[in-house]
């Protein structure tokens, strides 16, 4: 007993300091990776100023959208019945309404409701990449959604679960905003977070109400200014892959992280309301994965003028009509979907 007391007395400082360090570290790890912090639900987060801004942006861009719609309808190659019905909400003819709801769907294509999606699988750099060519007649068919319809940290669901909850035709994982405590978050016209993110990359992809893309730097513009200028979606991951038709990544300036081959997700725009979604497999025997440069070159080959890298690794997932298209990896190389904070999707 005396020996035991002596041991405790002699080691009490070491025991207490080790215990405190262990408790602190345990809390930090749990709070970072596990404990969910729901801040607000997406339904209630659409603040008045956000609604106003989105509405204003929609109003000011109506003309451009209408022009884009007419151009896209022509270029989509859809049957005139489908195109007209999708574009015109004013039509009251019941026959046309029925036609607007009819979509021709196969395992890799969707045509209808003013939406044309064609998914192709390409093989590059020992990797399977899934490329979805998306053409829309309405800009608001391009949307984002939050896991559990809630904004917060460690609030997650799989891409397919979020896609199903939002009736998505096509979905890819988003920017995993929940992984960070800072950084602008604007989703569907609502401002959720307005603190500038820290780290090497502060460049975001802004999507305007008319469906156009623009790269912005969080250190140069406030989140409110973005909202006021008509930004309805902000994707905050990066880096930019292509800007103004020029590659923004190169082998020379890549950091080790970017050089490595990994699963990747990216989004790009070719023309008005004409987008490319790319998800590349990786970390499997079949697919090594892509470097950022390889990803940028792939997406450039489709004629994208602006393209942006989204959350990759185990998060990289593409879902089409409720089916996971690619082979997402979790916990290393296990083929299964990983939970994420948000998705980018197409819905009628």
């Amino acid at each position: 007993m005396t020996h035991k007391n002596s041991f405790l007395r002699r080691h009490i400082y070491a025991l207490l300091s080790s215990l405190m360090l262990a408790v602190l570290t345990g809390f930090v790890l749990l709070d970072t990776f596990v404990l969910p912090h729901a801040i607000t639900s997406a339904a209630t987060a659409v603040l008045p100023h956000a609604i106003t801004s989105a509405a204003t942006a929609t109003t000011t861009s109506t003309q451009a959208t209408q022009t884009a719609e007419s151009q896209t309808q022509t270029s989509l190659g859809m049957s005139s019945t489908v195109v007209n019905a999708a574009a015109s909400t004013a039509q009251t003819d019941s026959q046309s309404e029925a036609a607007s709801n009819e979509a021709v769907v196969t395992d890799s294509t969707y045509l209808g409701n003013g939406i044309r999606i064609v998914i192709t699988t390409v093989r590059t750099a020992d990797t399977n990449a899934y490329v979805a060519d998306v053409q829309l007649s309405r800009a608001d068919s391009l949307k984002t959604a939050l896991a559990q319809n809630t904004f917060g940290s460690n609030i997650t669901q799989t891409t397919s679960e979020i896609a199903a909850a939002n009736s998505a035709i096509l979905a890819i994982n988003g920017d995993y905003y929940g992984a960070n405590k800072r950084g602008y978050v604007i989703k569907n016209g609502a401002l959720y977070r307005d603190t500038v993110r820290q780290g090497d990359v502060t460049q975001d992809l802004a999507i305007y109400a008319d469906g156009s893309f623009e790269m912005i730097d969080e250190t140069e513009v406030t989140a409110q200014e973005l909202l006021d200028s008509g930004v309805v979606q902000l994707l905050s991951f990066g880096p930019a892959l292509i800007e103004n038709g020029t590659l923004q990544v190169s082998a020379a300036d890549e950091v080790s992280r970017a050089k490595s081959s990994n699963p990747r997700t990216a989004i790009g725009i070719i023309d008005e309301l004409h987008y490319i979604f790319v998800v590349a497999d990786g970390r499997t025997g079949e697919s090594e994965g892509l470097s950022l440069l390889a990803l940028a070159q792939l997406i450039e080959s489709y004629g994208c003028v602006t393209a942006y890298n989204l959350d990759g690794g185990g998060s990289s997932t593409m879902v089409f009509n409720g089916t996971v298209v690619n082979q997402p990896t979790t916990n290393g190389t296990m083929i299964s979907e990983r939970v994420v904070s948000d998705i980018v999707y197409i819905a009628a």
Binding site: R10, L29, D31, K181, R182, Q198, S256, R257
Partner: protein, 142 residues
């Protein structure tokens, strides 16, 4: 940790150096293994995880072996110093794990500040003890 602090003889400092050396080696091996499974994602904090134990633990302990007893820090200072090294190592590990997972955290600041305070406290305690007790600075906190 306190097994390193029984006394300030050269043998004890050698034991301290050996223990810190083992911890540094463990950190180095841990880093290599972690990086093997991190899908080529890396962090300088993981690569240099062994450095605090080596530079702030093992090497000072080896130097203390050769120092005159009068110059050696007391047990209180050594305990606070060891805690500072442990805190710094933990901070680097946390930062590395979070960075490699693709996240960004500000929690690591707690570790940097805490270890800085502890290093400073060790220095202040050492000076105060020397000032208060002259050459006899061997005070047992327990």
């Amino acid at each position: 940790m306190s097994t390193l602090l029984r006394d300030g003889t050269p043998a004890d400092w050698r034991k301290t150096a050996l223990t810190y050396g083992i911890i540094a080696a463990f950190c180095g091996i841990f880093s290599v293994v972690y990086l093997q499974f991190s899908h080529k994602e890396s962090s300088p904090f993981l690569v240099w995880l062994f450095a605090p134990s080596l530079l702030l633990g093992m090497i000072p302990a080896l130097l203390m072996r050769r120092t005159r007893p009068i110059r050696r820090p007391g047990i209180a200072v050594r305990r606070v110093w060891n805690t500072a090294v442990a805190t710094l190592t933990c901070g680097m590990l946390i930062r590395a794990i979070i960075n490699i997972s693709g996240r960004y955290t500000e929690y690591d600041r707690i570790y940097w500040v805490l270890s800085g305070v502890l290093f400073l406290a060790a220095a202040v305690i050492d000076v105060l003890l020397r000032f208060a007790k002259g050459t006899d600075n061997r005070v047992d906190m327990t």
